[in-house]
Symmetry: C2
Amino acid sequence: MFESAELGHAIDKKTYDARLPALREALLSAQYSLRDDGRRAVLVLINGIEGAGKGETVKLLNEWMDPRLIQVSTFDSPTDEEQARPFFWRYWRQLPPKGRIGVFFGNWYSQMLQARVSGALDDDGLERALDSANALERELSDEGVLILKFWFHLSKERMLARLDELKDDPLHSWRISPLDWHQSKIYDAFVAHGKRVVQRSSCERTPWHVVEGADNHYRSLTVGRILLEGLQDALQGEPPRRHTVHGALLPSALDERRLLDSLDLSQSLEKDAYQEQLIAEQARLARLMRDPKMQRHALLAVFEGNDAAGKGGAIRRVAGALDPRQYRVVPVGAPSDEERAQPYLWRFWRHLPARGRFTIFDRSWYGRVLVERVEGFAPPGDWLRAYDEINAFEEELTRFGIVVVKFWLAIDKKTQYKRFKKREETPFKRYKITEEDWRNREKWDQYVDAVDDMVDRTSTDNAPWTLVEANDKRFARVKVLRTLNDALEAAFARSER
Amino acid sequence: MFESAELGHAIDKKTYDARLPALREALLSAQYSLRDDGRRAVLVLINGIEGAGKGETVKLLNEWMDPRLIQVSTFDSPTDEEQARPFFWRYWRQLPPKGRIGVFFGNWYSQMLQARVSGALDDDGLERALDSANALERELSDEGVLILKFWFHLSKERMLARLDELKDDPLHSWRISPLDWHQSKIYDAFVAHGKRVVQRSSCERTPWHVVEGADNHYRSLTVGRILLEGLQDALQGEPPRRHTVHGALLPSALDERRLLDSLDLSQSLEKDAYQEQLIAEQARLARLMRDPKMQRHALLAVFEGNDAAGKGGAIRRVAGALDPRQYRVVPVGAPSDEERAQPYLWRFWRHLPARGRFTIFDRSWYGRVLVERVEGFAPPGDWLRAYDEINAFEEELTRFGIVVVKFWLAIDKKTQYKRFKKREETPFKRYKITEEDWRNREKWDQYVDAVDDMVDRTSTDNAPWTLVEANDKRFARVKVLRTLNDALEAAFARSER
């Protein structure tokens, strides 16, 4: 969920200074249009990690825009009056009226997260609170309120560094933080439950915007742009658009730093080390698949990746460890007529592994948010809601005991070029390279963005993505096998407890 | 939830025979249009009480329509293959393709209800299962599947009578019912959890249709009509309508038998008995409000009813029992400017009672599904989603400990006429009667329908409606006070445990 918000996004002062005036002017003008239009209110929810710039952002919004049309509400401990009434009362009483922007600094999400981390709520309690929050937001959104949810994020290292920097800052020292952020386990618990909160409360109409908070310039411009696009979009159309996706949904990072760029693709394995490790991991997989505990689980692996990244070879090395009766490879191409007559996920449901078995999907349901998004085969409404559908789907699987392992095999553009050329030159490999592969290659950057969003939105604790550095095929194959084995072992250990 | 499906709805054979041919022809023609259109599938979910005609209905649909385009799936105990895969797998594999109608006789709802009644699922488990079902239906509906959910209902007495009738019927005797319906407590548990299921899984796009199953003619025509309207609506528009409400939503009962007609409005109290009971109930209310247990609760009463039904007088008798500092009366009329600038429920949230207090709403949030619906002030989309919003709202309140008591004060048309006339003739009451009252009176039947739907959709275990026979004001006032007292006592007893 927070992967691409730990990359160290940053924008230099010069770029910031150059972009700021136009952004401020546009924001002010959108704000007046919102007032004059008078049909919609905007609610901005500020959440996330301590020290990630939540307070600074709120301050900045007030500086940039007309503060008479913004109302900031801070929610710390409930007052006596608030405690005497149902949970959401304190929030209802502070809602912004139509034409205004309300900023909730602290809100139902911070309240439920704090309660969960402190143990005042258990897992079931958190799920119930999320149901209530979803119902509330659906209702507000149906009534024309534009809800923008920000999660300000920092990696643990950056948070600790920021806390040190800020400890003498008067803006911060007065803040009563009921969670002691200096404790590393508090960060871990907050982030773990935070992932769940963000996953469960993202929906097409009220998505989360996860913003890395380490760099002031990057953070400020990003928030400003999302707010601006949201405002502009909300003001379009007559009557105000309710059931549609708003423009600020999935902007690519302002500094063009992407998850895939952060991989060290130079990693490789020598031939001897490869042979040795490959055989060891294959033997380990064969053993794990025969383990009696496997009867309580099933294994499902998803292979996605750049064209020519070596998915086929990796799948063969996995399969090579096993008896053909134990696994099944499902190659996913264009849907059949029968599949086309069914809802999108039907073609994947039908191939789910039974208990004790292993299914390998060579490409998968992620096609919708990769190729179908990039090529425009699916309209935005369809691929945007696919993130939530996929999360719900995988949650059903993992709750049942299926171990879901997802690989993105990543190569760089140069390596792809070399492999394409080689395929063209090798007679028995020529069938593997088509015009379409060359066309896809032209959309390289769009795929990089799509992968970023996919990992951010669908890498959950239960079904995480593994990015595999695949410039070296040997390194990739061993990493794939090892990841599968680690996942199975972890699942066996969990169900032991 | 099931109130109007216990009225003994029936249609005579002559009417049935007269209406059937046109219905069958229209259904057949809609079915072929669905096939030729080829963009949507229809999924019919059959649920409800044993003996309420579920099997007969499925049989009938196959007789009436082209059976080649209908696929009926029966789900009893999961097979080995099904047990080895996640919960929803068995349902996905049987989904109807586009152009077809699938009938699921037994489905996720029957499975979760049976598990809840037998104790295999607890309350939290049921809520999780409902979350999954809602996510699945949202997804199918987003993909263009029209979902029609039927709940076939019978009162307990009618069910027991039906089971006797059917015990020698070969269609029934082979049915394996894992629940023993002859046990009265099984019926009670099934209906209690069924209410929860219907409440939690009703939504604008996939509402439940509750059909009384006692009379074959009524049941068959009602199902046929709902299916027909659903099909016709689904086939309108290009592209197929997804996010809109479909036509079959809230048809009024075919035999025009309505909840309000079932009241015995002749009930009355003599003056002496009235004085005695009134004083006793007022003293009881005063005592309960001073009880220390009241500090864990709050009391909220909603008064709705026909014009001139005596709401004001009843409220005065309730208030008369109390110290003015303990309660507050909130008269609900046209919203203020400030209220108009906020989401609909805002004006009610602001007046919620604090713990220990009592708020009386003289008219309420139900205005949206009464006057706003009937007068057309709110578009159908708004008042249709209001049922779910109101249920969610009241659930937040009751979960917090607020005791919610809702009254509909009912008089007949003749009594209203007499009271209107009397108001016009009495100088100090003349202000109470306006042209608008006379206009509302012309829409009497539409209000009767609206009240039926309101009670069916918002009378929950936590916040039930009480219909008050109010032709005799004395009878009504005592019933109101007694209902409030009983509700408070029950809440105190529950929180003792």
